[in-house]
Amino acid sequence: MKLKEIERTAHQAWSPAAHHPIYLAAGTSAQQLDATFSTNAALEIFELDLSDPGFDMKLQGSIKTANRYHKLLWSSHGLGSGGPGTLIGGGDGGLIVLYDAARILAGDVEAELGQSVRHTGPVRALDINPFQNNLLASGANDSEIYIWDLNNFATPMTPGAQSQPLEDVGCVAWNCQVQHILASATPSGKAVVWDLRKNEPIIKVSDHTNRMRCSGIAWHPDVATQMVLASEDDRMPVIQMWDLRFATSPLRVFENHSRGILTIAWSRADPELLLSCAKDNRILCWNPNTGEVLYELPTSTQWCFDIQWCPRNPALISAASFDGLLSIYSVMGGSLSAQSQRQVDMISSSFGNFDPFGTGQPLPPLQLTQPHVPAATVLPLKKPPRWIRRPVGASFAVSYCLHGTQTFKMCGSLPGGLVQSHYVYVSQVVTEPHLLSRSAELQAAGHTGHLREFCHAKVQASIDPLEKDIWSFLQVNLEPDPRSKFLKLIGYNPDELAQKRPWLHVVVTISAIELSISSYSFADVDGLIGQALLVGDFEAAVELCLGDGRYADAIILAVAGGADLLERTQERYFDKSSGIGGTFCIIKVSELQDEQALSLSFLVDALGSRLEMEDGGRLCAQACLCYICAGNVDKLASCWDGTHQCSDSLALQVGMYPAVGIFGTNLTCRLVICLKIRLSFNNVATGNCTHLRNGDTREQPYWIGLHLLHSCQTSKNNIFSHRILAYFFSISFSFSSSTPPPMMFILLQPAQVQPPEKIEKRPIPEEHASLRIAFDGLVQRCLIAASDPQTKRKLDDANKRLEFLYDKLREHSVSALSLVSRDFKTRNVNVGIYFKNIISCLRAKMPSHLELL
């Protein structure tokens, strides 16, 4: 497929492979005149810009020269110093001239580096040594062959004595494998191979037909002893392939051209591609190893006299033809119809689509009569060229494992001498080997049911006291009677406690009285509460809390003490309360009451929370122990994360993974826990959360989470998926300082199978409508008045609660009467108390607004 076109009758030379971008130099060719009979000569450099769809090439530099050229070369000599290399031209009168390509590109008129007229006659043969880019071989009339050193251009050397009889040297070529071997060929059909170390011809090649007229010679890029010769003679338009190991007759003869071959070019990128162009106007691409014609270029009706592979872009060739065109083709095929359409578009757009006549109508697209393109589609080479054959490629597989490994596979071929064997390897990439071995250990213990022994072994093996504690607590969790064992572990003897109990009760009561009377700060209230709890005397503990002003704690404890105690505590609380904090506790507690029976674990859990909050996190380790006792992995993980952000990851694994094995009763549960731990773990492992916050690094847990979510939804386990969802929320909130929290939520949207249903709400029954108006108005006014964000949040919350209340009213499950009175039960208690408290709180803060009510 033709890509570019330049209207020049010129010899061309591509910039060297190492040079980027790709340039094409064109030097006006000698012995050719066009209809203007102009004898001007120029050396021009064009840039190949493939992103430009047009046929034109951009002229990057040009100089006028005194001579025209028979041959042009672009050597990488001087490329190392940053320049684009050296251009070498061979002209009439034995002229060899060197130009600095950099100076031509810079527009410098003085681009010539040196010249020599040592040869006689036109210099048609030039070649640069592929190993030493300063060595130039040249050939001209009278069997002259010179070897030039571009660093010292003054005096050339000869490869040996001139061969007799004296003939023109039509072409020279350096061997591609052995750097001191040079071949030359004459139009009479003889090829001579020279050894520069011996300084003499070592072999002469001729087929005895005397009809070969060599127009081209090329060495095999890979096989040192093979070369091809092309014949210009119309009676024998063949290419002969010779192997010097048997140089009495050609190895192969390629016959397809009907007239003499003008030039040949062997691809360096794929030794199975050899181009030839002949006087029959055809350009053929051969596989020189088989003699098969792989490709025929769609060309003009004119002879091509020069053809070259682009050294950098292996799919490109340039061809210069006698009709004054320099064309660049791709051998990969492609569609011509797309291209001709492109030309039409270009012409069309160059006219502009604006409205030149002020008619208010833009001009219609230009209609061009298109020349009929007979074969719109150009097929690519029959054989895939070497440069598109991918030899190797490793891809990650989709499967994954929660334990920090990723399956990964690679494929490719392994060269093994002449017979190539090809393999596909499946490998596993283990990114966290320590974690893997630990988890395997734990899993083994879990499978065999020896978790207790496992814990015990860990206790024995631990050095760090905290680690020891953790393992001990975990072990106790697995014992038959955990509560008593816990007490023992903490250092209390149940029997002793039982004895102490009456005494303790007295102490507690006394201290409570003291507290309430004199507001004397009892130094060890915490200790007393703790002891009261240990012996199970909730009433005393509540008393102590109330005395100390810890209403929230009091209520939580009261919950455990039974409904009666709770009620009394609430009463007392409302009598005293002016704050709002405790209210939330009540609500929370009431909710909990409905859902789960409170137990020791709940209390320990609450204690853990307290510990975590207090003292700026210094007691977090103890809090962790509490969570372990309570079996609360969520909190354990988050607490651990908070304390150990900078500590090493192993510590976390120590704490976490056992917990997984022990608390994870079923698979789903384990997965959730694993996920959570993975999340925490990653934060720890990467040092801190900041990079996550900045969005710099991709973290696998999110993805795993998403995946889990997906799999859960397919298994219709919605509760599970919502738990994950909730967890994502908490994660995104915990990073919320700069990452907007909604992100996670939205990401999860596409995976969500069931969108939340939109429920049409019925109107509130008429008898309650006034209530709603009153409440809404109240909230509205409060909203206007509320200035601090905290209050606003609470009002938002109030709105939600109200909405819940309205729903209840709609269902007629609660009467307006019971709402106003305070004697209602269980769930609805929330609304009433809650709202009452909001109002009272606001009243305390903004009396003026509420008086309006």
């Binding site: 890509l3 980027h20 493939l50 992103s51 950098r312 872009n313 799919a315 490109l316 990969m332 095929g333 492609g334 569609s335 797309a338 291209q339 492109r342 589609t377 097929l379 690519p380 895939p384 598109i388 054959r389 991918r390 030899p391 190797v392 490629g393 490793a394 891809s395 990650f396 597989a397 989709v398 499967s399 994954y400 990723q406 399956t407 990964f408 596979k409 690679m410 494929c411 490719g412 392994l414 090809h422 393999y423 596909v424 390897y425 499946v426 490998s427 596993q428 969005g695 710099d696 690094t697 991709r698 973290e699 696998q700 999110y702 993805w703 998403l706 907007p740 992100m743 939205i746 596409p750």
Partner: protein
């Protein structure tokens, strides 16, 4: 020569394609491998295979030098050809399935410079859209991007977009996006100085950032990042040989780079944004390899 090997969604099966013009499917459970299918249909070397998302069953696409793309499906008893696409004029070098949200959606890049997007319609027919001259003298690689635009993350409902990246012989990496049913070149990324051999859009894992890896004949691997508007390149490494293939791990945090010197290196980004080589696997070296076929 085996040109590509891909594991299916569950990691149970491996599809390989080769210069022998065929595709082979192996069961590779528990380290043992058995040949379960040998697919004939191409007339030239098969360059790439790609598994569709598991929700569409066992569907495999293959592309070859014979200018064809074939889509295979596992039937009740054997694998069968369900579609053959012949819309390209030259070697089809790369195929990539789109995100599962869009149904069966395939993009193919060819040496004719064009890119085709194939979509299975509701009635089971396949519709093709072709971008002509996407990469002058040839497209070498295509890779789909995520289905959700990162720009829409903060809105109420996610915006679905069809987008992919391609790399070609014009040394360019291009990002394409569908707008009103038409494919538009969204951005042209220039940094490579030679053919772009492969591109890979990193899996979407929830961060508001898009990442593309590209590798080239010039031995360089670039990591392109975008947070919405512009793409910035970062040179991962300059290798001494052609880099043929790049592949992201499923979680997008490890990049496998396969070079012409038969070396596979794994790269991971550190906290401070520097990429470090975490593993170097020489293919001839058997250590660390679980099984080989």
């Amino acid at each position: 020569m085996i040109h590509d090997a891909q594991m299916d969604y569950y990691g149970n099966r491996l599809a390989t394609c080769s210069s022998d013009r065929t595709v082979k499917i192996f069961n590779i459970r528990d380290g043992a491998q058995t040949l379960v299918a040998h697919l004939h249909g191409h007339d030239g070397p098969v360059w790439q295979v790609a598994w569709a998302h598991a929700m569409y069953g066992s569907v495999l696409a293959s592309c070859a030098y014979d200018r064809k793309v074939i889509i295979w499906q596992e039937g009740k008893h054997e694998w069968e050809k369900i579609h053959e696409y012949k819309g390209h004029d030259s070697s089809v070098n790369s195929v990539s399935w789109g995100p599962s949200e869009f149904g069966l959606l395939l993009v193919c890049g060819s040496s004719d410079g064009g890119i085709s997007v194939l979509q299975r319609a509701a009635d089971g027919r396949w519709e093709a859209q072709k971008i002509n001259n996407a990469h002058t003298i040839g497209c070498n690689a295509v890779s789909w991007g995520p289905a959700v635009s990162i720009g829409s993350l903060f809105g109420q409902s996610p915006q679905y977009i069809k987008q992919f990246v391609s790399g070609g012989c014009d040394n360019l990496v291009k990002v394409w996006r569908e707008e009103d049913g038409q494919w538009k070149e969204e951005v042209k990324l220039e940094s490579h100085s030679d053919w772009v051999r492969d591109v890979a859009w990193a899996p979407f894992i929830g961060l508001p950032i898009c990442t593309i890896a590209s590798c080239s004949q010039d031995g360089r691997v670039f990591i392109w990042r975008s947070t919405g508007s512009s793409w910035t390149p970062k040179l991962l490494h300059k290798f001494n040989d052609v880099v043929w293939h790049v592949s992201w791990s499923i979680t997008g945090n490890i990049l496998a780079v396969s070079g012409g010197d038969n070396r596979v290196t794994l790269w991971k980004e550190s906290v401070d944004g520097q990429w470090a080589c975490v593993s170097d696997v020489n293919k001839g070296d058997d250590s660390g390899l679980r099984s080989s076929i």
